[in-house]
């Protein structure tokens, strides 16, 4: 590391006192890096190691390299219909919930923006779903949909066994996730709405634009950055979903997601190698989306990384 000149314009003598900027940076950053290497990198490496082996389910302590070239588990995973079902279920859930959250969030934000009384109280109310634990959310919605203590069938009639049928079970999970997150999206969008200067709207009104045209040509484009950020990260959250399906249905009736099938294979069926392979495949799926986002749109990292 070459000692670049620290252009603080400070007098030359100051540099001899204490650490140089680069040195200080190193010591401030390295604890975090070491910690991250330990708690994040190490388990991932170990998981990859596990996924390259087969561990006997029948005989205690017996294991072997997963032929061919250690990729046997990945081969089995990618040829397994269960895995692809989990992938499809996860994708359906992701698309449906993110889309609904965006829509409902946008509607809520517009309403909250127009109301001028009790903003603070409204925001608190809207944060309640976010503050409630995911596990509690699952229990909450299970009690609403499950007979006999639930009332959904009473209101809309019919005798659907919500959590016991396909695709109703997935619908319940989507509803639970949308309830939890749409208000949060509303807050993000609301913040975006609040900085759009009203003069633009005034000018548009003068020009004779209708409410719909004002929405389409002013509101949406100016909101796009905020929406994009929230969209990407909601997608990443949805791809990893575990809590809701686990508590609501344990993955039964077509609600097994990627995280769920990995956990089931590993913990319940004791097929460690394959379970690790599923975990890594889930990891890769999520990371592909994550890295694509970071390297193309870059989030705010570029701005943050500027000196």
């Amino acid at each position: 590391m070459t000692e670049a000149t620290a252009n603080t314009g400070a007098p030359q003598e100051r540099r001899s006192r204490g650490l140089s900027e680069k040195g200080l940076a190193f010591w401030m950053v390295s604890p975090s890096m070491v910690l991250i290497a330990l708690v994040a990198a190490y388990p991932i490496i170990y998981a990859i190691w596990l996924s390259l082996h087969e561990y006997s389910v029948r005989v205690a302590g017996l294991s072997r390299w997963a032929e061919p070239f250690g990729l046997g588990n990945y081969q089995a995973a990618l040829q397994n219909a269960d895995f692809w079902n989990a992938m499809v279920t996860t994708l359906i859930f992701t698309v449906a919930s993110v889309f609904l959250e965006l829509l409902i969030g946008l509607a809520m934000a517009m309403a909250m923006h127009a109301a001028f009384k009790g903003q603070g109280l409204l925001r608190t109310v809207v944060l309640v779903p976010w503050a409630v634990l995911t596990v509690v959310t699952a229990i909450m919605w299970r009690t609403i949909f499950e007979s006999p203590q639930g009332f959904v069938n009473q209101i809309i009639g019919g005798d659907t066994v919500w959590l016991g049928s396909e695709p109703q079970a997935l619908i319940v999970i989507i509803i639970a996730d949308v309830w939890k997150t749409a208000p949060f999206m509303a807050l993000l969008i609301l913040a975006g709405l609040q900085v759009i200067p009203s003069d633009i709207y005034e000018a548009a009104k003068v020009d004779g634009a209708t409410a719909w045209q004002r929405f389409r040509k002013i509101t949406l484009p100016l909101l796009t950055p905020a929406i994009l950020v929230a969209l990407i990260f909601r997608t990443l959250d949805a791809l990893r979903i575990f809590d809701l399906p686990y508590v609501l249905t344990k993955g039964a009736n077509g609600t097994t997601t990627l995280s769920l099938i990995a956990q089931e294979t590993f913990a319940t069926n004791r097929i460690y190698g394959l379970g690790a392979a599923y975990s890594i495949l889930t990891f890769i799926t999520v990371m592909i989306v994550s890295f694509t986002y970071i390297w193309t749109v870059g989030g705010n990292i570029r701005g943050l990384a500027e000196d």
Binding site: L24, L35, I36, I139, W141, L304
Partner: protein, 296 residues
Amino acid sequence: MATEAAVAERAEPRTKTKKAPKPQGGTPWWMWIAIAAIVVFCLFPFYWLVNLSLKTGADLGDSSLFPPNPTLANYESIFNNSDFTRALLNSAIISLSTTALALLVGSFCAYALARLRFRFKFGILALVLSITTFPAIAIAAPLFRLWSDIGIYNTLIGLIIPNLTFALPLAIYILVSFFKEIPKDLEEAALVDGATHFVAFRKVVVPLAAPGLATAGILTFIATWNEFLLAITLTSSPAARPVPAAIAFFTGSTQFEIPYGTITAASVTISVPLILLVLFFQKRIVAGLTAGAVKG
């Protein structure tokens, strides 16, 4: 959790928020309906939970909107249940420790990233951001084997460590934006007066960053409190089991019924502190969460 990271990109509470000017004339009638709809949407399911928690016995099966014989029996029984109270304690210890550690270690890293000049900044930030998007399942399985081998399975420390995997990057990411917001002149002044970077950090930046630290702390605390997958994988007994895992395994205190009464009472109980937290820090939370999305 990643969502919060995404948008918690800037600093101070929005004292500078430019609110759109209020519309002329009164609130249209449909506005009240919309507001009412929002309130019902957000609060009704939680009300349903409270409703069930006040019922016992046969009442639990009749899906009525109000408890016919409201009773606090369920709450009594869960607080007499040592497993549950132990779980509350475990969660508190795990969340507080993780938050404290994440803030401590993360603030140093965040300051360096925000203020000091060195290479690989984009790389480090990208790494930090991507770790907040890790699927927990990827580390759950290897950690289970590792912890069993070194003997910290079913311990609090065994949960604090993996929770840091998500808490630390989250804290760093939030704090970097906060630190960047702090005007440089104060630090410059301190440096000119002869302080080292570290002293400037300690005496000038940290106090100014208090709101940022608070926001990061609250968000990290809530995220850790919420963590479920690692909680059920790495614990097996009430000794170390945190609240989300304990609730999922509630066998209830009564032997003869599906314990919806006690499960919902427990659910309400653990939601109340978080809702209070939100109530008091609502401005700060919203400001922190949304500021970035706007300027971003």
